[in-house]
């Protein structure tokens, strides 16, 4: 069988080409593959083996292609020449391939070892990586936890710092008294932990206080074992200000529990202490105010229980604060109606019902604990808190017993005043009438020879007029009061006259022991008569069944051991009026000279008060002694007059006019007074001019001055109703003629003008009604 050769050629050539291409491609792939992981032994082995195989393939393919081409071109000789080289190269590649082949195991082993190592390494790495990852995770957890802890610590620290810095001043002090730490508030008060040299400051240097260097120092106490110290302490701040603190201290220990210092807290109580002091001062002020209030104050709660009573309330109720506190108000403040004697309604209830300030009923009497009854005026008011809720009641009351008495007496006094005004008015008119009667009687008696019956009757009538004058003087004194118009007088006559006047028709005997050489005294006859009458009246009232009044007088020299402190440079006349009546109780004897004091239901209480006042105005003294059931003795002392001669008047002798005095002007609103005065003056030989009021008198005087017709003397009534009186007229008279002589006349003998006439420009004063002798005396006095 013949097989074609062309498949051989074709296969050889095509196969060579394809093989060549595949070989090159394989070489490239192998190289790339190996280059991708150049440290891979297996890759390198395959790459090199492939390269060797590729070299074989290239060599063989190239050889076969060249062979075929040469043979086809009929160049076998050339092929023959080069074929050994082609074959040698092929053989060489066979050997290389063989070497790679038989050493595969070594490569494989190395590769496996490397791979194993690598795998182990990778496993180790992986394991380690896992470990590291786990460790990393764990570390991250730890870190996260740590960070969380740090964050928590930071937060805690921030919170702690905030808490510390927002709290009261705090500091940590070491056992060496060094300030280790402090919060913001602390350093605001005591800044600085270190001195200029950088050393830590000592606590007693930076914040000196009361207990520094003493056993009471908190650090000392903590070191001795106390676990907590709390003190009130005054400390000086950095700016030198003293402030009060509550200092607390606790042990400061390290982590091992060892004591290394103290933690001190400082609570500033300066404001609180100041507030306490202010409160205490305010309370004291309130307490003092309450104590000083003149009214009684009682406060209760809303249940009517007493909370507080002040001193005045204690005195009025008889309950002390400590006794009254907690008791019912009705028990402490027992009030009744004075008229019905029924208990009054509880004021607390009234206040709580109304919720307003109320004044309680009139005629309310407070029954004190010991039974004393007092008239009170009271009011109650609610005590409200800041929310306007009633939390209690305050009662304010005062003793109005005396006030009521005084009001009653005032009413009586007003009545008396009205009576007095009426009496004064009547007395004034009556005085003028009396002037006319007395004056005419006086003039008529001059026309009668002495010793005649008619003359005697005239004298008695004159005496009666004088007595009436005294009575009007008393009435005027009673109505207007006033200074005494004193003159030297013998008091025995006044005593007898006054006593007989009072005791006329009574079954009381009056005995007199009056020496003949009794000194004269400077007295206002009218007032002194009133004094005698008051004392005799009292003696009479003390003996309603009758009795004896003893009146004695004596001269008293200074230093004679009288029971009253008499001036040693003054002589006195002593008058003693005694009765054997019921006497005066000892508990009342000190009050008998008080106005409106009377032991008699019908008494005004003014008699002895006026007596006392009159004696005082005479610069005298009055005392009283009494024994209940035995009688009462009044003793008064009057200064002795310098003048010891009483000018005895009423000889009814007409004297020659004072030489040089011719014209006298009389001014009085009452025509009868003018007529009587004119007659008296004419009897005395004077030329009389009359005027009804001050204006007329001034006009007449002015005209006389212009006419050069001198008016030597003017007698002017003090008071002219509805017109110019003597008080005003004298001013104008003196303006016209400063040397003019003016005498004031008035029925108000106690008038201040009458008492001190010179101060008003007058030269003398004469009391109406006056007699001829009185008129003559005053004329002589004026020109004397």
């Amino acid at each position: 069988m013949t097989l074609p050769w062309w498949p051989v050629i074709l296969t050889d050539m095509a196969g060579s080409l394809v093989t060549l291409g595949l070989a090159v491609w394989s070489a490239v792939l192998a190289w790339r593959w190996a280059h991708r992981k150049s440290d891979d032994v297996f890759r390198n082995y395959i790459s090199l083996l492939t390269l060797a195989i590729v070299c074989f393939a290239i060599s063989r393919s190239f050889g076969h292609l060249v062979k075929q081409l040469l043979l086809m071109n009929e160049l076998p000789g050339v092929w023959k020449a080069i074929s050994p080289f082609s074959g040698a190269v092929n053989s060489m590649t066979f050997v290389v391939i063989f070497a790679f082949g038989i050493y595969f195991h070594r490569f494989q082993r190395v590769h496996d070892e490397i791979e194993n190592y690598r795998q182990n390494l990778e496993l180790l790495v992986e394991a380690r990586t896992t470990e590291l990852a786990e460790a990393n995770t764990s570390l991250e957890h730890e870190i996260a936890e740590r960070r969380q802890v740090e964050e928590d610590i930071r937060q805690s620290q921030t919170v702690l710092e905030s808490v510390l810095n927002s709290s009261n001043p705090l500091c940590i002090t070491s056992l060496d008294f060094e300030v280790l730490q402090g919060n913001k508030a602390y350093f605001e008060i005591w800044p600085g932990q270190e001195d200029e040299q950088g050393n830590r400051v000592k606590c007693y240097e930076v914040r000196p206080g009361d207990y520094c260097h003493t056993e009471q120092c908190p650090l000392v106490l903590i070191q001795k074992g106390q676990q907590f110290v709390s003190q009130e302490n005054t400390k000086m701040t950095a700016v030198g200000e003293l402030r009060d603190f509550i200092v607390t201290a606790r042990p400061y220990r390290n982590a091992d529990g060892e004591l290394i210092g103290i933690v001190e807290g400082f609570q500033d109580i300066s404001i609180r202490k100041q507030a306490e002091e202010d409160l205490a001062a305010e309370r004291e002020r309130l307490a003092v105010t309450l104590r000083s209030i003149g009214d009684g104050v009682i406060t209760t709660d809303i249940n009517g229980m007493v909370v507080m009573i002040n001193q005045v309330a204690e005195e009025l109720t008889g309950w002390r604060q400590r006794e009254a506190a907690g008791r019912s108000l009705t028990e402490v403040f027992n009030i009744i109606n004075e008229r019905t004697r029924q208990p009054c309604r509880n004021p607390v209830e009234l206040v709580l019902e109304s919720g307003k300030i109320i004044g309680l009923a009139n005629h309310t009497a407070l029954i004190a604990r010991e039974g004393t009854e007092r008239s009170i005026a009271d009011s109650g008011a609610p005590i409200r808190d800041k929310d306007n809720r009633i939390i209690g009641v305050v009662l304010v009351f005062r003793d109005v017993t005396q006030q009521l008495l005084m009001e009653n007496e005032l009413q009586k006094a007003k009545k008396l005043e009205s009576v007095g005004v009426l009496a004064g008015g009547i007395a004034h008119d009556f005085n003028n009438i009396l002037m006319a009667i007395l004056g005419n009687i006086n003039l008529a008696s001059l026309l009668l020879p002495p010793g005649e019956n008619l003359h005697t009757l005239m004298m008695e009538a004159e005496k009666a007029c004088l007595r009436a004058k005294g009575l009007t003087h008393q009435l005027l004194t009673f109505s207007k009061g006033g200074e005494p118009v004193k003159e030297a007088a013998a008091i025995p006559e006044i005593i007898r006259d006054s006593a007989e006047f009072v005791l006329h028709g009574e079954n009381i005997v009056c005995n007199y022991e009056i020496p003949d050489d009794l000194w004269l005294v400077d007295i206002d006859r009218g007032q002194m008569s009133q004094v005698i009458q008051n004392l005799i009246i009292n003696a009479k009232h003390a003996m309603p069944q009758g009795g004896t009044i003893q009146v004695s007088c004596e001269n008293v020299f200074p230093g004679e051991g009288e029971p009253v402190p008499l001036p040693t440079d003054q002589r006195f006349v002593k008058v003693v009026i005694s009765d054997n009546g019921m006497g005066i109780p000892q508990n009342l004897i000190d009050n008998i000279f008080d106005p409106y004091f009377s032991t008699k239901a019908e008494g005004t209480g003014l008699g002895l008060a006026i007596t006392h006042s009159i004696i005082k105005k005479h610069y005298g003294f009055i005392t009283v002694t009494s024994l209940p059931g035995k009688g009462t003795t009044f003793t008064f002392y009057l200064p002795v007059s310098v003048e010891q001669e009483v000018i005895i008047a009423v000889e009814s002798v007409v004297r020659d006019p004072v030489e040089g005095i011719r014209r006298i002007l009389v001014m009085d609103d009452d025509a009868m007074v003018r007529m009587v005065a004119a007659k008296m003056l004419e009897t005395l030989g004077f030329e009389v001019l009359l005027a009804a009021n001050g204006d007329t008198a001034v006009r007449i005087f002015r005209q006389a001055c212009e006419d050069k017709e001198i008016i030597d003397l003017l007698i002017m009534d003090l008071t002219i109703p509805g017109g110019m009186g003597g008080k005003d007229a004298v001013k104008e008279i003196l303006q016209l003629d400063p040397t003019a002589r003016v005498v004031v006349a008035s029925g108000y003998s106690n008038d201040p003008v009458m008492a001190d006439y010179k101060a008003y420009g007058f030269m003398a004063a004469i009391s109406k009604p006056f007699r001829l002798k009185d008129l003559e005396d005053v004329i002589n006095q004026t020109f004397g």
């Binding site: 074609p4 595949l22 595969f104």
Partner: protein, 150 residues
């Protein structure tokens, strides 16, 4: 290690037996290898190739290298071994081939007369690229496969 060398010796002995057994064939002018190189040297080369690749193949089978490109590479090894055996045989038969069996036309080889199995083997040995090309294809595939593995 000792066992491996023993295995290699057995393989070399076996291949040499194949070379020695069929006898020696005379060299021809159309042979691929010239007289200066000598057929023996070339055949020894082929034997070394065979031994090397055979050892590599056996090793890979022993190690059960079946992953990635190894299947293809083992195929390559099988084909290259087969090619080596065929080429070795062809070279060996070429020495004993009667040049008269070549048919020339116009001086060019046009055919070959096959009168027996050996002639047939010889003829197919001249078609060795039928084994070589697949071998390189497999080699290429193996390399591609290996290269494709990340």
């Amino acid at each position: 290690m000792g066992r491996g060398l023993l295995n290699k010796s057995l393989i070399v002995a076996g291949v040499l037996s194949l070379l020695i057994g069929p006898g020696v064939v005379p060299a021809m002018a159309v042979q691929a290898h010239g007289g200066s190189e000598g057929l023996v040297a070339h055949q020894i080369g082929h034997l070394l190739f065979i031994i090397g690749m055979g050892y590599l193949l056996l090793r890979s089978l022993y190690l059960r290298l079946n992953t990635q490109g190894w299947p293809y590479f083992k195929g390559f090894l099988a084909f290259i071994l087969s090619w080596n055996l065929l080429t070795f045989t062809g070279h060996w038969l070429n020495e004993s081939v009667d040049p008269g069996k070549y048919l020339k036309v116009d001086g060019q080889l046009a055919g070959f007369t096959v009168n027996g199995f050996t002639d047939l083997i010889f003829y197919f040995s001249r078609l060795d690229h039928l084994l070589l090309v697949p071998a390189f294809v497999l080699l290429l595939m193996a390399l591609k496969r290996w290269r494709s593995v990340p």
